[in-house]
């Protein structure tokens, strides 16, 4: 069976695949950064003593976590133009969707992280005269972030794999690029195998790093 494969199609399609890979990578990095920032704010909202804020934040998180990602991707793609009045393109739509969606997952991690910092730490910050935002920024969040770093990175690996779902709206990520290249050369199988290997190598390498990090943090604590 392998003898029927023609792997010579990789070389001419590399630049094309590279642009797709760059989009997947960018999407991951932007959604990670935006998702962690937005997710941290959501977590703070959920833990807030202001009832309405807690209710809204938890409703948002629960909603996002209960809907399949592909649906959210399609939804945003259809709904955003209705709000903005003009189409914004599959790539930008994907970035907004992933940031909004991943924020819900990062927020659950950050919520656990904030709760992992003892109440006494927050008290010590307040006792020094810090405001809520100073206490969060200087005392609680740095520790929460540090405690949760391995899990945040694991979530990012999942996020990187999930970016392949943007094929649903035709954004040109790594998978879409492989699909197009496969059609061009009429060698779809080879191309899918190739990107599968890329996904595997990257994700496996990253999760190995996370495992090491986990051990290192465990030792420090």
């Amino acid at each position: 069976m392998l003898s029927q494969f023609d792997f010579s199609v990789f070389k001419p399609s590399l630049t094309f695949l590279w642009t797709g890979f760059l989009f997947s990578g960018n999407l991951t990095l932007i959604a990670m950064t935006g998702g962690i920032v937005f997710g941290t704010l959501l977590a703070m909202g959920r833990l807030s003593s202001l009832r309405p804020l807690a209710v809204i934040a938890s409703a948002y998180v629960n909603l996002m976590r209960s809907i399949p990602l592909v649906m959210v991707i399609l939804w945003f793609f259809l709904v955003i133009p209705l709000i903005t009045g003009k189409p914004i393109g599959a790539e930008r739509s994907a970035i907004i969707t992933f940031t909004a969606f991943e924020a819900a997952y990062y927020s659950e991690i950050m919520r656990a992280g904030i709760q992992s910092v003892s109440r006494g730490q927050a008290m010590a910050g307040y006792a020094l005269g810090m405001t809520y935002w100073q206490n969060m920024g200087l005392v609680v969040l740095p520790q929460a972030f540090r405690n949760m770093l391995p899990i945040l990175l694991t979530q990012t690996i999942i996020l990187f794999q999930d970016t392949s779902l943007v094929y649903a709206i035709g954004a040109k990520d790594l998978l879409k690029a492989a699909e197009i290249a496969g059609k061009n050369y009429n060698r779809p199988m080879e191309m899918y195998i190739f990107v599968a290997v890329i996904y595997f190598v990257l994700c496996f390498a990253l999760s190995t790093i996370v495992k090491r990090l986990h051990k290192k943090i465990a030792v420090v604590q």
Partner: protein
């Protein structure tokens, strides 16, 4: 005007009343020890003084400022009231000197150099000059608590609150922390100290408050308290704690 004035303070956790009609005063320069069996509400009371715990009834004035008033700028009030906790609560992700400067720079708005100078001077004072660049986790409990006292002093507080500062320490480390506290007391710092250390109370306290079941049962001078406490509960408590 008293430095700390507590008037008829009541506090409930849900339906459970933890403080019942507590009233007392701490004058400027006075050292007041708060003692009593565990669960008597002494830690809760001291946390009410700087508003770390809310209370539902009564009034607490710190240097004339009402703590329970929603109009009061609590961060500002707290920045002038030093607090030392049972479990030290140093910030583990900062160095020792970082712990001593963060409040000065971020809360009081001091310049970095000024804060560092003050921090190093206070480390010298608590005998930990060489530990500035270490992290709290690398220090013993007694050393951590001395850093915690220095951190509170770095804010130039008008009074200090101690919440069982030696209860989490190994016996051989209690002395070094008490020594720092005794120096402070002799320098005229206003102090409210929740502790079981009756030796400390005898040496430096002016007054002793004895609490039981959320109430202030006894509030007298040190001499009277150790001489002839009026309440049976206080007599029983003393006889137990002194015969160890």
């Amino acid at each position: 005007m008293a430095m700390i004035e507590i008037r008829d303070v009541c506090k409930w956790y849900g339906g459970f009343q933890v403080l019942t009609g507590c009233s007392s005063k701490v004058e400027k320069g006075e050292v007041v020890v708060v003692c009593g069996p565990s669960g008597s509400g002494k830690s809760t009371l001291i946390k009410c003084v700087n508003g770390l715990e809310p209370f539902q009834k009564g009034e607490i004035l710190v240097n004339g400022t009402p703590v329970g008033d929603p109009e009061t700028n609590l961060p500002k009030l707290r920045s002038g009231v030093g607090m030392v906790f049972q479990h030290f609560e140093l910030f583990p992700h900062m160095t020792v000197i970082g712990n001593l400067t963060v409040g000065q720079v971020k809360v009081l708005g001091r310049k970095k150099e000024e804060a560092l100078e003050k921090g190093h001077a206070l480390l010298e004072r608590v005998g930990l000059t060489d530990f500035a660049q270490k992290h709290p986790g690398q220090l013993s409990g007694g050393q951590q608590q001395r850093v915690a006292i220095a951190r509170a002093l770095a804010m130039d507080p008008i009074c200090m609150l101690f919440d069982e500062p030696t209860s989490a320490l190994d016996p051989e480390m209690i002395g070094e922390v008490l020594a720092v506290m005794q120096d402070l007391a002799r320098e005229g710092m206003t102090m409210m100290v929740v502790t079981h250390e009756m030796g400390f109370a005898r040496n430096v306290a002016h007054r002793v408050i004895f609490m039981d079941h959320g109430q202030i049962v006894e509030d007298t001078t040190k001499q009277e308290f150790f001489g002839t406490p009026r309440s049976e509960r206080a007599q029983l408590f003393l006889s137990r704690i002194l015969h160890h």
